[in-house]
Amino acid sequence: MVSDVVRTKAPSSPAKKRGHFVQPELWTDFFRGERLACARLLTAVENSPESIPEILDKIIPRLKGAVRIGVTGPPGVGKSTVTAGLARRAVQAGHSVGVLAVDPTSPFSGGAFLGDRVRMQSLSDDHHVFIRSLASRDGHGGLSPSTPYAADLFDAFGLDRIFIETVGVGQAELDVLSCADLVILVLQPGTGDVIQALKAGILEAADLFLINKADLQGTEALLDSLRFLLDVSASQKRRSLPPVLEASALQDKGMDETAAEVERLIQRLVHSGRYREKRRSRLEREIRSAIEQDLWDKFSALAGADEAIRTVSEELLNSLGSPYPFIRETCSRIRVELTDERAGREEKE
């Protein structure tokens, strides 16, 4: 349950522990639409990764096809305000909205100041919106590892537009891509050289560019830089230019147009089959990483495996040797066999 002590680093093999982490009453409440039940399941995916397989088993069949919209960008550009503006309009258009707001975990204390929710005050009384703050935990300052599962929970819960707002620092921008169906990159004037520093990945893969605080000086210059960079990458990849919009979210200007563009992009996403493609690729990734984790867990469970690696590394430091002889030797001793289904364990030496 929620208050179990867990290490988020190495969840146990899914094959090993098929117990009940979630009480049946919680599921009943969840599917009946009770917010606290959804919140408790969100906590479970955050704090008890070993409950994730059981949870996914239950909710994936009940996914309703929600669209996940990532909102990313450098700190301070107004992502929360933009998210709140878009969320409000989605509600007005008849959607149920979930917001996952990710803030960085302090690498020193392990704690986190979750301050996005308070920037979305205008949504706090709206019953069609569910806001959940997440700390980035092990996600290297980017998306918390539980975010995709949290989004799935929202989907199964019945929310059909899910905004995922990230910290927007370095690796985070790329992390968002895998989880979101659509990515909005928010920038503000005066950040021209920030674009240079942003990883090429996010610039290429963002579906919509929004220049917020467009009332400030430097909007023209930013538009120019942006269009130049996008042009270069588009002509290389034979893609059309993604839309670039302007807004002042705090004054609620330009947000109608932005919301409309988001809807257009969503429709295109669904009709072009790209939505389905992204889902498939997520499932693939999930399968791969879970099996990877399981293989590793089994290996490191071998008596002394971790210890051996640590010892060898220490020796290599002293001898200035390459780790590859050890790696080759160890790998050559590993044998993987797939036994008949449901016979139990795979074997490794």
Binding site: G76, T81, F113, G115, V118, R119, Q121, S122, L250
Partner: protein, 552 residues
Amino acid sequence: MKGPAVKKKNKASWEKNFEESGLRDADFSTISGRPTRPLYTWEDLANGDPQAELGYPGEYPYTRGVHPSMYRGKLWTMRQFAGMGTAIQTNQRYKFLLEKGQTGLSVAFDNPTLYGRDSDHPLSAGEVGKTGVAVDTLADMERLFDDIPLDRVSTSMTINAPAAWIFAMFLANAENRSIAFADLRGTLQNDILKEYIAQKEWIFPPEPHLRLITDLMAFCADQVPQWNTISVSGYHIREAGSTAAQELAFTLADGFAYVEHAIAAGMDIDDFAPRLSFFFNAHLDFFEEIAKMRAARRIWAREMKDKYKAKNPRSWLCRFHVQTAGCSLTAQQPELNIVRTALEAMAGVLGGCQSLHTNSMDEALALPSEKAVEIALRTQQVIAFESGAANVIDPLGGSYYIEQMTNDLEEEARRYFKKIDDLGGVVKAIEQGFFQREITRAAYEYQMALSRRKKFQVGVNEFINPGEKLEIPLLEIDESVEQDQLDFTGRVKAGRDNGAVRDGLGALKAAAASGRNLMPPLLECARRYTTLGEISEALTTVFGEYREQPFY
């Protein structure tokens, strides 16, 4: 005269002896965290120019005081901030204080009033009369000042967001009592910028509030010439946890922002600047506070004369009220607060304040009881009549430490001015959370210093009396106050001409949308017993509401 070699030997001798005598294991920085040296000497002042940096009292740059005779001519005004429950209770407290010898009034309003809301607003529930007096209409203003000679005693009102319409009610009351506006003396706090920074009591976004401020300034310049239209406040910034240098810098920066705004609105600087006043905190670090106040006068004078080119010397004056630091009071061993307040009050006096409020010992726990506020007032009287502090102008002038500290604080303040300029000015800096972050960091560092026992609070983290029981009587605001106020206002609303009220609000909205001076329509609304909340709501339809983007 001793030759240089001998002087050097004397200094070296002291330095050696100092090293050898060993140090206590203690933190020797000020309460703001500013490091101090063990000794300040004539060497520190050797390169100074006392004529230019200090001058004479009542003469530019006013470092030594704003008046030529200071307390020899007139003592500071003893002005105790007071307000509780309904206007009737508060009126009684005012009479009590005047009778005990206070020389000016200062009104504390309750939370709903500070936000421009009526006592019957849903968010006012539980808050009416708890931290100040509830004022809903002119009728409350009438009760508040009943039998008090407003033409003879000056009144300060601590109100910001709805200051203009509270002031309109005050004026309407004076009118009804046949007191000429020109005879009214007093101050409105009316400092909206520090609300965004520290106290958080706003209604609209900055621009409409600033417009209301300049409207009020123009109106007073013409009709209420003895009134101080803004009390640019550092007190709250300090209470929120800032350092002394931050309090100094942010307050003066706010002052300059108002000056610039009024000039941009077309006013002549010498028309309004003489009626700007300031409000500083007097915290526990005695010397830092005195130096801060001297630095404030000098910086303001220099900037107003050299940068803003004000011609009238009265525009160069940084006149200020001081309140002893609320955040220094403890709930444990509260009698010690009398001592703290006395030290802080002395700093305010030696810093040259024009008026002073001394906190009561029980204010960490409740609004002041009669006994406690009497002691607080008497503290000022002991200082004024027994201690000799009022005999000599700027008696610490020339102290090596004080002059060095004054210079250091001015320097640090100017560094802050540059930072604020770089960010695009005060309003932009507020939007970017600059002040809020500086203040929050200073607050946290101080709290950690207490936790780590680098800094002390007697009775709290040192010299504790375990298991102490509170033995002083505390003031309680009865739960019936809220209902009483609701009933009273209900009767006022029933008895007024509601058609006239509606018309008045319509005219107000039209003036708000058109850019005309809002004081006349506000005054008219006040006369018709329009409520505070009705006015706030009407203006909100034109100006919009402000939601903070919080910063940590």
